[in-house]
């Protein structure tokens, strides 16, 4: 690509900025600022393809910066780079910042180079987006959760507009995904006492059009970080489920799905980092079969 992407780094430590600028200055046009508010102004003014922000800064948090960047420049890819494991900030980075990656300090130069390159390529390719006319019936919602009150709540919110399918079995759930037009999956990351986060990540890898809303009691920064980077979950909500929150999330996911349908390139924004093969291998072979079929299915889009 001949055109250099514009990258913006935000951190209150200027040595971090100097270090990152030197790492990227040959490849991109690098902008830096120690002021989160200025970062938002830069994104409003200039065409910034990727913004990488620190979380803990004076006056304004990184999540707040990314949330406002999302408003003023929705196409900018947003990444959080933080040295502090703060659960609330991590949850907000998903729900408000809709971030592409959650990176930890200290980072690896090679890893951050790869990820920023990937984000820049996605942002550049989105600039040549084409619109496709969509129509027809609204795609359905799949609920994977053993708690019947959750599916009741989803049904109550969706009414007659959307078909809601309920499954408490992973194989069955993936069968539903393969056979039906599913836009949104509402799931827990524990099902019948088992951790199904590997499946939640595989689901997104296999079908990038699907938006995942995770509702769980589990509150762990590392799990969440992995769900962001490997699963690109769309929302992370606490349990017990709250109707208002779930309703807002479902509406946002529906809108997002519509724009993804009309602009398929948008799907690239939700590219996941490949998971470790080990947990995915732990999925049943039958499930693996569905995954393979879905993967071949997405290639033909």
């Amino acid at each position: 690509m001949s055109e250099k992407a514009n990258i913006l780094f935000v951190d209150d430590e200027e040595r971090v900025l100097r270090s990152l600028e030197m790492l990227f200055k040959n490849r991109f046009k690098v902008h830096t600022t120690i002021d989160g508010n200025e970062a938002v102004d830069i994104c409003r003014r200039d065409r910034i393809h990727v913004v990488v922000s620190d979380q803990r800064m004076p006056l304004i948090t990184g999540v707040e910066v990314l949330r406002r960047v999302r408003e003023v420049s929705p196409n900018t890819m947003r990444l959080l780079l933080t040295g502090y494991s703060d659960l609330e900030a991590t949850v907000n980075s998903v729900n408000e910042g809709e971030i592409f990656r959650y990176l930890s300090k200290p980072w690896s130069a090679k890893e951050i180079t790869n990820i920023v390159n990937q984000a820049a390529n996605i942002a550049l390719s989105l600039e040549q987006q084409t619109n496709v006319d969509t129509g027809g019936v609204a795609p359905g919602v799949l609920v994977i959760d053993e708690d019947p009150s959750v599916v009741e709540m989803v049904k109550a919110i969706c009414g007659k507009e959307r078909q809601v399918t309920w499954s408490v079995d992973l194989d069955e759930a993936f069968e539903t995904l393969a056979a039906n037009d599913i836009a949104i999956v509402v799931c827990d990351i524990r099902l019948r006492g088992r951790d199904i986060s590997a499946a939640v990540k595989a689901l997104k890898e296999g079908n990038p059009m699907v938006l995942t809303i995770v509702q769980t009691q589990l509150q762990d920064v590392e799990t969440l970080r992995s769900l962001i980077n490997h699963g690109q979950i769309y929302r992370f909500l606490p349990k017990p489920a709250r109707r208002g929150l779930l309703e807002m999330s479902l509406e946002a996911a529906s809108r997002r799905h519509v724009s993804m349908k009309s602009t398929p390139q948008l799907t690239a924004r939700y590219q996941v980092e490949k998971s470790d093969p080990a947990p995915v291998a732990a999925l049943s072979t039958r499930l693996q079969g569905f995954l393979d079929r879905m993967r071949s299915g997405t290639k033909s889009i």
Partner: protein, 443 residues
Amino acid sequence: MAEQAQLRQLVMTAPGIPPHLLVNDVADMFMDETHGKLLSLPVLDGDRPVGIISRARMQQVLFRQYGRELFGKKPITEIMNAAPVVIESDMALNEASKTVTERLKFPVTEDFVITEGGRYVGMGAVMHLLNAMEAQLAAQTEDLASAYKQLKASQLQLIQSEKMASLGQMVAGVAHEINTPLGYVKNNIEMMEMFFDGNRELLGACNALTDTLLSPASTEQELQERLAVLAALRENRSGSEDEDMLKLFADTRFGIDQISELVQNLKNFSRLDRAAAADVDLNECLDSAVLLARNVLKTRVEVIRQYGALPRISCMPSQLNQVFLNMLTNAAQAIEGQGKILLKTEAEEGWLKVSVQDTGKGIPTDVLPRIFDPFFTTKPVGQGTGLGLSISYQIVQQHGGDIRVTSQPGKGTRFTVRLPLAPPAAQTPESPPAPPASQGEAA
């Protein structure tokens, strides 16, 4: 609790005297050796005690001139004590003892009457009652001592867990403080490796060119090739590499110094040895606490230091650090949005004074008296154990000092720690801490 001694066990059997019995006959009863231990005999109407007659009273009457002639033929009721102390046998020992000491007129010469449901059962001796009381008190003292020992052990545990809890919060903050310099240091080193690889290649090409130039056997073509390689390598360079490298080195060195400083402070702070150090500079302790509290202060709180010249004192620095960190954290948490914390130290008349004053929301008057109570907290769950100030209070008290607080709701709070210049001789860290008491008063 020790087994409760019973009043019943103190009952001495004594024959009852009918009210109409003559003084002379009663005198004979006292002469009877079987009643030798009794100081008094009861006068009974049936089984109801109506009085007692003591050996001493008897002697007083009979020893006077013509005593026997005057009183010998009279009924005993004439000279008996008609208002004896009567104790029901189910009365608790301490209560019985209280009644006896309050009401017995002649405790050395009289006994008291023991009844059950108003009916006479026997006599009781004051001496026996006192012995029983003493045994009971000894048992209670032992119970108290062991309860105190247990309390002290659990208190030490509480201090330790509060320390761990505040350490946990602090470690999370310090991890961030360390991860920031670690982030750019690592990135810089990885970049320096890349630069180094480039430089090595360039140096290799220079050396090859020099060798070719110096070798008599070199051909023109070889020289051209070497030059071309070098030129190509030079082409790839932006020209700012060396300058960049120098900047990276300076930043890296700065970052490593910063990490060292943090680790050093962490080490000083969390030293688990309880030994007192002889020459501690409290200003340094405060600086160390400020550094560790940086993650709660940094974003919005300005710290103003007004340090006086302080003589070094003998104290336990790791414990005082805990006190100062606790006060700084409280002060920072009291400030909503932007604010200031004033740290002031001064020495005066045998005391060191350290005050931490914030521009926070202040402490409501009704809350102020309780702030030193263990487990009292107004912070949301997970943000405070309610032990911080109570433990700070104990630590300062163990150092022979005190903590004072003045607060104005809406304006701010000032905590002042006073420590004696000379350490208290009797009080060692092992001495039992007095229960914390609130010293608060609204300004």
